[in-house]
């Protein structure tokens, strides 16, 4: 197993865990026009949910924007996100996994990696870009599991030089 040394100091604790009792679970049907990722800001906030696991179960998008992992020529990080790939639709979302959490007290983020079919039939996958994946007719479906009394919070990680989700206990 190849291990890489990142630019910053490695924190001693390598696995961070926040447990919670079981909490809400529900299905979501996203309608045409909704942003695949941004839609969860209002849906989950309205239910008082600050952290969740989201599993996408199919849908059609008007277009898609995504990135992948590529070497970082600047050396600031070992690797970073590629320039965005933007493709017109219809794009078929096959499946995807996402984590919903907080950026700051007023802002949420849905971090989503997914696999999808482009209009010409090519299957691709990657990190979807918020605001760049509008849902088309007939919509998209997802299942949500709340993380209960825990949530994910963005924090700067000095080991990798990324702003990353980490689990926290919800006050």
């Amino acid at each position: 197993m190849r291990l890489l040394r990142h630019p910053g100091p490695a924190a001693q604790q390598r696995i961070l865990v926040e447990p919670s009792a079981a909490a809400a679970e529900f299905a979501v049907e996203l309608e045409a026009g909704a942003d695949l990722l941004g839609a969860f800001d209002d849906i989950l906030a309205a239910r008082g949910i600050e952290g969740a696991a989201i599993r996408f179960a199919g849908g059609i998008l008007d277009r898609i924007g995504f990135v992948t992992g590529v070497p970082d020529a600047t050396g600031y990080r070992i690797a970073t996100h590629s320039a965005p790939t933007r493709t017109g639709g219809p794009v078929m979302l096959l499946a995807g996994s996402a984590i919903f959490g907080r950026v700051d007290p007023k802002t949420f983020r849905t971090h989503c990696h997914a696999v999808f079919v482009l209009p010409g039939g090519e299957v691709r996958s990657g990190h979807l870009l918020g605001g760049e994946c509008p849902v088309a007719i007939p919509g998209a479906r997802a299942f949500v599991t709340s993380t209960g009394t825990s949530h994910f919070q963005v924090a700067f990680d000095s080991e990798t030089n990324f702003a990353l989700f980490e689990p926290r206990r919800t006050p």
Binding site: I15, V17, P19, A21, A23, A79, G96, V115, H151, T160
Partner: protein, 133 residues
């Protein structure tokens, strides 16, 4: 009801939900097994996993193992479960896709000890309590 009248059917309920971050250079499968062992969880399901691997080693249907070289392979999809093996040891079996730098997906079962986290793994696990277990 345990589902015992239908082979292969187990009735149960979901319980604790664990929000997790795994830092770089820790193996995906070993981390899931350690987390469950540390929390006294014998059965669990992967609810979501988003992150990246340095390299990925996947078991194919033939049993062959294939390694995709990164770093920065995006974990695009996972499904999996944790359950005791024949001798009672906690064992995670996780399947999924990783995305290479060109956006091409590569699928299979993640091989224990061969899938190091690159930048982060954000993970939600949920305990499963089978009746009669």
């Amino acid at each position: 009801m345990t589902g015992g009248d239908q082979p292969g059917v187990t009735v149960g309920k979901f319980a604790r939900v664990l929000s997790v971050r795994v830092r770089p250079n820790i193996d995906l499968i070993e981390s899931v097994e350690k987390i469950c062992a540390d929390h006294g969880i014998r059965h669990a399901e992967v609810r979501s996993a988003v992150g990246s691997l340095t390299d990925a080693t996947l078991r194919l249907p033939s049993g062959e193992q294939r390694t995709i070289i990164g770093p920065g392979l995006e974990i695009a999809l996972t499904s999996g479960r944790v359950a005791p093996d024949d001798v009672g040891a906690i064992q995670a079996r996780v399947y999924g896709l990783v995305s290479d730098s060109a956006g091409h997906p590569h699928g299979g079962e993640f091989v224990r000890g061969a899938n190091p986290v690159f930048v982060t793994l954000e993970l939600v696990l949920q305990e499963w309590l089978p009746e009669g277990a």
